[in-house]
């Protein structure tokens, strides 16, 4: 009888530490993993329609026009550049620009994910403003 009473008293003292540890681990895991679930966004200047090769509005600022072709070619100011070089050349171009504006246009069959990849890269290398234009014809 006495032994059973002692055992019961021993069980009364529940170890909450482990429970608190689990809860804390869950909270930390939750905090770390939440950014994966969050959606962010890239601000895009309202799109317009640009005639490829058409008249560019007069201005003294250096332009950074990126054109994405269906076959994966990337043209920076009408010069074909590999994507790795674009990452190097674009910041140099933007450093000389006041507005630091990048204008992206694409051919019909370019996937949205590819456009966003280039937009993201432009933002990463210091573009203040990214505009996405529609082109009627390829350059």
């Amino acid at each position: 009888m006495r032994r059973r009473h002692v055992e019961r008293r021993r069980n009364d003292g529940l170890i909450v530490n482990s429970l608190v540890d689990i809860a804390l681990s869950l909270v930390i895991g939750f905090m770390v993993s939440m950014p994966i679930f969050f959606e962010n966004g890239i601000f895009v200047s309202a799109p317009g329609v640009a005639q490829a090769g058409g008249a560019v509005p007069a201005g003294s600022d250096i332009k950074a026009n990126i054109f994405l072709a269906n076959d994966g070619r990337i043209m920076l100011n009408e010069v074909q550049v590999p994507e790795d070089s674009l990452r190097v050349l674009l910041p140099r171009l933007l450093d000389r620009s006041v507005a630091r504006r990048v204008v992206i246009s694409n051919e019909e069959l370019v996937l949205y994910g590819d456009v966003i990849r280039v937009m993201d890269m432009a933002k990463q290398v210091g573009a203040n403003d990214v505009a996405w234009l529609r082109t009627r014809t390829a350059p």
């Binding site: 994966i36 969050f38 890239i42 994405l68 990849r117």
Partner: protein, 134 residues
């Protein structure tokens, strides 16, 4: 001087309630935080900004279906009308375009153009956070 006996606080129910609250929060928050309940495989990007504010979302699924705040919409003209109605209420409302990354860029441009024509001035292309270096 006599030592007072420590009060016997029953902390277990409180811990259990806390744990359950954490679990509920973990399950609900992704649904609350994303702009709509429509699952779309938005492209990943390093430089996305997070804007937690009143917004409207236009979804473009991989199959080319349009949704405006989770409600299917047949045409871009209807989207334009709906955006215009929201813009009339709040001219600076954020328009979030959630398009599947496998869509064609021009399809998304059509949506952006419709939003612009309707008067939207703040347009965001939804992305998800890219954690690894591309």
């Amino acid at each position: 001087m006599s030592l007072k006996a420590a009060p016997n606080l029953d902390i277990l129910p409180m811990a259990c309630v806390g744990l359950i609250l954490v679990l509920i929060m973990m399950m609900i928050s992704p649904m609350v935080v994303t702009h709509t309940r429509t699952p779309v495989d938005v492209p990943a990007a390093h430089t996305g900004q997070r804007e937690v504010q009143n917004d409207i979302s236009i979804v473009l699924t991989q199959t080319g279906q349009y949704l405006f705040d989770d409600e299917p919409v047949a045409t871009l003209e209807q989207i334009g009308d709906l955006v215009a109605a929201e813009i009339a209420r709040d001219p600076y409302i954020l328009v979030v375009v959630r398009a599947d990354r496998e869509c064609y860029g021009n399809q998304v441009l059509d949506v952006l153009s419709a939003a612009k024509k309707a008067g939207a001035v703040r347009i965001v292309c939804a992305t998800k956070k890219l954690t690894t270096k591309s």
